[in-house]
Point group: C2
Chain length 238, copies 2
DNA sequence: CAGTGGTCTAGACCACGCC
DNA sequence: GCGTGGTCTAGACCACTGA
């Protein structure tokens, strides 16, 4: 924990999760917190602001910060979270089977991406199962310009852990679209779809901290298993 | 524009939208901006932080703030935006037909909401069409405890505009889930669905600034017209 | 009225990118 | 070494809430 407000954030979040600050109660005021943690008020405010955007609390002017009833739906397709992280937090038995790793150009039109030249990439196709049910079929294109080579072991584990942990890449943001489509024959077979069952397709482009585009992903979900949960803050800038 | 950082945010956003700061270029540094706007650096940083979370820029340590290529997908199912706002920004011909307004209790189980007592609400059912195609069927339950009565004129226009503009309610946050389901017979008819076509259902609970729950919404989308676009920031708190 | 969160300031030190 | 953004401080004034 290098920075103070991160430490304070985690401390408060923990206390909320463990009901030391119960749902519906008020946190100590910002001035009180700043004394408690021996820091300035602005630093406390940064921590609170993180709690706010993550749905832990709601701040009310003139009153205080209320603890919200967070049925923590840490299933952020909305955030950027890898399958591995997801699965760890949900405690389910899951498997990842690598179906294919090979060099391919990115099919940019699928991703609504304009470019004049071909993008060389490592193509990884993986099937994700939870409790032996096939749930998601992932097609990843990782640009060669950023990551020249990917081994099968890495793909079977977690690409994100490898990119961030081993390669020191800093993944920063992504754009995603979610649509419902008719499956291909391959998808029908791999995902064990019933007749005429549609699939949910999430296509994303992922960028590094220095704004380098480095990955295209197409995630094909079984529609009956698909569940996206979101916490949305209404933003009024003024 | 009451607060400075909001004004600065809008000014910078405008300049980015109108390519005064072109895509790929760097904004002036924070110290330069603070001199430009005659304000402190922290204030500039607040404005930049809004630009960051809204996908206008990416900040790079030791370098500066890069303007991102925002193909502004202002279709935030992800944010909380009403149909009217959405539609205005997309410049399409659309209609809202009110199918039903009546008093009903909220079917809380549908929304995964635990409560011991019945919730009295105004039920509003509306069909949204774009270019004469039925796109969305909305079922709204607005709690009587917050808004005792809703007229048909208001429902035909925009509920949000009415709540925020006329009633002075401050809508603050919402939880949403997105799933794919089989349509009811009524939905099949109203949305002109083809045989066996599934629907995308977005269920949300909306809260006011003072954390009062005040609305349940079930939005049934034609799956072939459904398109959800998201900009996701990877959050690393530490 | 006192207490709360919202905004803003003028400074400081640090880690990082780059030359 | 210089400029960048990231963090942090100790104050200040405001608008709002509730008694």
């Amino acid at each position: 924990m290098r920075n103070k407000y991160g430490a304070i954030y985690h401390d408060l979040a923990d206390k909320i999760i463990h009901h030391i600050y119960p749902v519906g109660s008020y946190l100590p005021s910002e001035t009180q917190l700043s004394e408690l943690y021996g820091t300035s008020r602005e630093t406390i405010r940064k921590a609170l602001s993180e709690l706010l955007t993550n749905g832990f609390i709601q701040k009310i002017r003139g009153k205080g910060s209320v603890v919200l009833n967070l049925q923590r739906f840490n299933f952020p397709v909305s955030g950027i979270t890898s399958y591995k992280e997801l699965n760890k937090s949900l405690n389910m038995h899951s498997q990842t089977k690598v179906l294919c790793i090979e060099d391919r150009h990115v099919p940019v039109e699928k991703f609504d991406y304009q470019t004049t030249h071909e993008l060389a990439a490592t193509y990884v196709e993986r099937l994700r199962t939870i409790e032996n049910d096939p749930i998601v079929l992932d097609h990843d294109y990782i640009l060669k310009t950023v990551v020249p080579h990917i081994s099968e072991e890495v793909a079977a584990d977690s690409l994100y852990a490898y990119f961030e942990g081993k390669l020191g890449l800093n993944i920063s943001y992504a754009t995603k679209t979610i649509t419902v489509e008719h499956p291909t024959v391959e998808e029908t077979k791999l995902l064990a779809l019933s007749a005429d069952q549609d699939v949910v397709v999430i296509r994303s482009r992922t960028y590094l901290e220095d704004t380098t585009l480095f990955q295209f992903t197409e995630s094909v979900h079984r529609s009956d298993k698909f569940n996206f949960v979101d916490f949305a803050q209404r933003q009024k800038i003024n």
